[in-house]
Symmetry: C2
Subunit: 197 residues, 2 copies
């Protein structure tokens, strides 16, 4: 009885992990001074995810706003982990909250956090940004770049961004857009799976 209960519990636990190459590639605590520096990391994560075959062409990272210290990263993990919710931003947010031991990144009076994503977030991720407690969202490629690849963004409208801004989330879009979009194109050339199509 006890044994079957343990087996049952193990079967009913969803494990969310980074691809193996993340801890070897990323140094947490490193400071990324500018938005361009931070975006270059998000784009490099998206590129590595394609090159290493671990998922879709999307990367994200969370930094302490003022120091630029790297707190968390994410890459698209939908196919790798059989979980449609695991877009890059979602993995970065979950890992940040796991590492900080809090369900909100807005709990500290001394630190605030930036989420930097290689692409404009989909509807799910834009909602998740609001609940995550990050105070700033920085994006690279845009909706048109993603839809050119047949990746859908879902029900995101101009007023979706306004809604976040009115609730205190600063938003900067189009940082290193060309470099970010180049990874989407790389994925397309490689014949990568469009799991949302």
């Amino acid at each position: 009885m006890a044994e079957s209960r343990v087996m049952s519990d193990a079967r009913e636990t969803v494990l969310i992990t980074w691809p193996e190459w993340i801890p070897e590639t990323v140094e947490f605590g490193t400071r990324y001074e500018t938005d361009d520096d931070r975006m270059r990391l998000a784009i490099e994560l998206s590129r590595q995810n394609v090159v290493r075959g671990t998922g879709g062409p999307f990367g994200a990272a969370i930094f302490e706003h003022s120091t630029g210290a790297l707190i968390s990263v994410g890459v698209n993990s939908v196919v790798r982990l059989n979980n449609s919710a695991l877009h890059a931003e979602m993995l970065a947010i979950m890992m940040a909250q796991h590492r900080l031991g809090s369900y909100t990144l807005a709990a500290s009076s001394s630190a605030s956090y930036d989420l930097v994503s290689s692409c404009d977030p989909c509807a799910m991720c834009l909602g998740a940004v609001l609940w995550s407690g990050v105070h700033r969202l920085v994006t690279g490629a845009d909706r048109d770049d993603a839809t050119a690849l047949s990746f859908e963004e879902g029900p995101v409208f101009p007023q979706s961004y306004t809604y976040l801004q009115e609730r205190g989330v600063a938003i900067t879009r189009g940082v290193l857009r060309q470099e970010a979009a180049a990874v989407l194109e790389l994925y397309r050339r490689q014949g990568g799976q469009i799991y949302n199509a």
Copy 2:
């Protein structure tokens, strides 16, 4: 070295589980014939989550559409698991995909799935519904019921629902709304935490 690597990996794994009372309370495979039957389960999950003190007043369940067989459930787990993404719908979707071993619930040619939620989904969950592969969304309480409790829904607009419908997701709202809203009121009376405020 090997040992520190294992410790590092364990620290960097997010474990997503149900509260302990779920497997004791729910019988997977049981058939729930009607929308009312299915909603009663989602509402009962929301109520148990409040009464047992394991989270916010929201429950969700996924059923095979034609047979009504129960596939997965979710309850709000934001505070319990320190994870702002773990709304009831997200947990139900992740567990369903985990159990079926697929990142989409639209993979089967013979089965389609209904997600039944005790409350209208927030912006994150509405986006997640689209990516999950469920073909139908059924909701109980509405945005006004939730905001009366200071729970925010985020950037959801009438055209958000239209967007999903145009992509093949059937939507039925307001099923047993009063019963569903009563659990929100129970949570308020108990002084439950409004973690999104």
